[in-house]
Amino acid sequence: LSPERLRRFADFSAWRNDMSGLANGLSREVMLTPAGERTMYQLGSPGARDRIWIQCDAASDRAAAGAVAWALLESLTSDRVSQYRHIVLGRCLFAIITAAEADGPNLRALDVPVLDAGTLGATPDVMQRMRHFVPTLVIHIQDWTSEEPRVPSRGSWWGASNVDALEAAQNTSQVLSGLRQVESYFISPDLYRRMVVPGALRPRFGRPTPVARALADHPDGRLGTLARRYMGRMGFTVLDRGKVPDTAATQSAVRVAPGRYVPRPEWRRLGGGNLAELALTRFGCVGLSVQLLHGPAAERVGRALALAEGAIIHRLGLEAKDPET
């Protein structure tokens, strides 16, 4: 991120005014939610084969999610010289959904669940528009950063008793900062059965197991790998490299790589793990849920943008210069 850009985002509350300036002439639909208005912008080629749904949500502080939506929209509508923009717009139809305003009910995120059961973003209003849009790729950016005091609410399904795990993790500087991605794509039952065996994905003698190799070669699974690598090349590190505490929040998914999770088959079968899982169930599309876990706002925005950009570029096969691929 350039210093100018950081300065611009210093006041995140101003992003909505910037957004309205960008969206002149774009197709847009306003949704009214308990958390205020949210807008869906459509741009690109209506007849394109790839239909990419990018949605930004936040548990509490909507500013960073709003800034991500703004930056995506700005980069797709500006008239700067760009390597990819015209190709991307010619080959895709985009739906970009902004975060809601900050005056709705907030979510006190205590222990961020890998599968949030659609708490963020999967509102009926959104699902109805998704049914009309029929996406082929869903990128759901979830900002779980909360400035609220961590007061556990009784009855909340991620439980009050994870305070200890959270504090222990923070004391040891282990997890819950950085970015976590939950990937939704079809996995054959055979591969699924083998990958949930404990230790099946752990390298043996420095070499990946057959299951890990099969997963790495999965055509849709590669999207997450390449997007993650792209994010690294953009200068954003993955901080989720330590051992993740085995809490209720992480037991519903298989950790396929540092910071990368795939829902376990039992939860995949239910089909409502998060927005991307619902989209996979309904439309069979690939989904990438990007969970931003604390950290400075500018860094969260940068991480989400880099990952979204990497996912789009690799989805369209535009990145031909990556020496590692």
Partner: protein, 271 residues
């Protein structure tokens, strides 16, 4: 037939499908039951009077999927596990005990326990706990395949709706008043939901606001292309390959006194 109830609750600004934590617990219990003995499950949507099926029918499928996921998630416990590092230290200590046993039987037994049996028992114990926690998911998967859904009118919800319509106060105050009235109207499980909303916190359990969509509006047509879009004003940020290298781009019906007044209005229908 097992019957589960969710609420279509009136809230300031619209309606919301709500499953309070108690309903989530019920769904989890039903999951265990279905896993052992598959049975038919019917989901009853308790609504105020004069609310048509068209308001919620389209969304109930996704809501039930979300509800089953929440019900199937492992419950957080305060159990403190011995970390893997400590287990490795104990196992190493056990090996050292074995090496230095020198014919001492008790030391051999202790070494075998620490080096072999304790890690094995620990792994088996935690594995069985996790398998037990995942058991309801098999049953819940049967439930989401083709749930039968029916509509029931709840007079308490009708009263709540009337209360919300007559109040001329702020949303937080209205939610607080409605929460006060919940118990007397046989909607004791909805009280924490309204309390949470009055304090601007997402309610516990599962909820999906649905009637706000009727107020949504479209500002322009659908098919405006990006090429027709007005260029952005000033822009120092650039993603997508910018040339600038610096940027990147029933209720348990037992608890509800209003149960007697519940009236079945339509027949069930599979989604």
């Amino acid at each position: 037939v097992i019957r589960l109830c969710v609420y279509l609750a009136p809230v300031p600004g619209g309606m919301a499908l709500v499953a309070p934590p108690e309903v989530v617990e019920q769904v989890r219990a039903v999951g265990y039951l279905l896993q052992r003995k598959p049975q038919a499950v019917r989901v009853a949507v308790l609504t105020p009077a004069e609310v048509g099926e068209e308001v919620w029918r389209e969304h109930i499928g996704d809501f039930i999927r979300r509800l089953t996921v929440v019900a199937g998630l492992p419950v957080a416990t305060s159990e403190r596990r011995l970390s893997g590092r400590w287990v490795a230290v104990l196992a190493t200590w056990g090996v050292l005990l074995l090496l230095a046993a020198g014919g001492n039987l008790m030391q051999v037994v202790g070494g075998l326990w620490l080096a072999l049996f304790f890690p094995w028992l620990r792994r088996v114990y935690h594995g069985s706990l996790e398998r037990w926690a995942r058991r309801p998911l098999t049953g819940l998967a049967l439930m989401v395949e083709a749930p039968a859904v029916e509509l029931l009118v709840h007079p308490g919800l009708t009263r709540l709706q009337g209360l919300l319509e007559t109040n001329d106060v702020s949303d937080a105050e209205a939610n607080s008043r409605v929460a006060d009235a919940c118990t007397s109207l046989g909607l004791i499980w909805l009280e924490p939901v309204y309390r949470a909303l009055s304090s601007r916190v997402l309610p516990p359990g599962v909820w999906a606001p649905i009637a706000w969509q009727s107020a949504s509006r479209s500002s322009t047509g659908i098919s405006n292309l990006a090429s027709e879009a007005a260029p952005a004003a000033a822009s120092e940020a650039a993603t997508f390959g910018s040339t600038d290298p610096d940027v990147a781009g029933a209720p348990p019906v037992q608890a509800d006194s209003g149960r007697e007044g519940v009236e079945q209005r339509t027949s069930s229908a599979a989604i």
